[in-house]
Symmetry: C2
Subunit: 192 residues, 2 copies
DNA sequence: GACCCGATCCTAGCACCGCTAGACAATCGA
DNA sequence: TCGATTGTCTAGCGGTGCTAGGATCGGGTC
């Protein structure tokens, strides 16, 4: 069985290589530049090899999205755990979220702008996505206010962050006031 | 000069036909289905005719976006003018915004998700886009609260609405709580 | 050690995309 | 009526995601 195990290991390595290369290429030149031909060339295999790992380009985007969700959840938890008190935690959370989106635009797109074929807000939602929402919920639930369901509050706060992230990056909001928008959002939405 | 005028008129009619057809096709089958070939076939001209009106597909998307901006501004003003008092106005505005996004997903995408080659938040931003923001500002400025710049408040509120609109439509938020999210957003963000 | 067979990979090609060069036809002004 | 100009079309370029089918390589068996 050792031979088969070795092959499976090598396959897993190659699959990670595909996802990492897709992500790298997307961050460098945008998702439009991530074509199956270029991706195949970069991993030094032919195009059809990609399709032995993924059903298509969409699934590759989905794999990058899941990887990103894990990282984002970790980044949010790291930021909030270093903050004292609800207010500081929420502010840190908001900054960390927008910072992640700004620093990893391609990954953020894979998660929330592109179609990676992933289910959201459902039972069959992949675990990393659920955990990403859970990371938001942990800090936001405590400032939802009386009589407001923590999950509902988290959805609204998340939507606001998502709007700021996407509109900012698309140049639809003036960049200079970014910090003041965050402060306003936290001050108004969170019950402290 | 009459001949030339007639030709110009006919050209203008055809240009409107292109934009209207692109919009229709996008609403029916999504923007992916709006290819230059299909569009040309629908208007019963050959592909190159499109390029005598627009530089490329991007500009066609931009034209649909501008058309949408005019309609959205009108829809927002109609909704707010029928409401009494700041609170009712802001609620009506939020509902009208989300309603427009839900009813015209392809137009909304052209405006805010796709690249239509339009400038935002700059001096050379096309008038319809500026006016769309102005329509938001008219109702939101009066609930910004003391010491908060109306434009900044409008940006934050708009971002929140945009986040709700996009996440809802992508199936990333449970659809059943849509109304409660709007109420929460208005209650918290607006100073009444 | 030789052979067979199955897994693995690549070449080549499909139908489609956005976009454009150049041929052709229709229309206008002289 | 003729030449020039304007307008439109056919055909084709290089690219896309994806796949069928042949070649090759390696492991298991005699």
């Amino acid at each position: 069985m050792s031979v088969q195990e070795r092959k499976e290991r090598e396959r897993a390595v190659r699959e990670r290589l595909i996802v990492a290369t897709a992500r790298e290429l997307a961050e460098q030149q945008g998702w439009d530049a991530v074509t199956t031909r270029r991706l195949a060339e970069r991993i030094e295999y032919s195009q059809p090899v990609l399709y032995s790992h993924f059903r298509g380009k969409r699934e590759i985007i989905g794999a990058v999205a899941l990887e990103g969700a894990v990282e984002m959840a970790a980044a949010l938890r790291a930021a909030t755990s270093a903050a004292d008190g609800p207010r500081a935690r929420v502010t840190a959370l908001a900054r960390a979220y927008l910072d992640f989106a700004a620093r990893n635009p391609a990954v953020y797109d894979a998660m929330f702008q592109l179609d990676g074929g992933l289910a959201f807000a459902q039972e069959d939602t992949p675990e990393p996505l659920k955990d990403g929402f859970a990371a938001l919920l942990e800090s936001l639930g405590e400032v939802a206010g009386d009589g407001v369901h923590p999950a509902l509050f988290t959805e609204v706060f998340w939507a606001a962050l998502h709007g700021l992230a996407t509109l900012s990056r698309a140049g639809r909001l003036p960049p200079e006031d970014a910090e003041r928008r965050v402060e306003l959002l936290v001050d108004r939405l969170a019950v402290l």
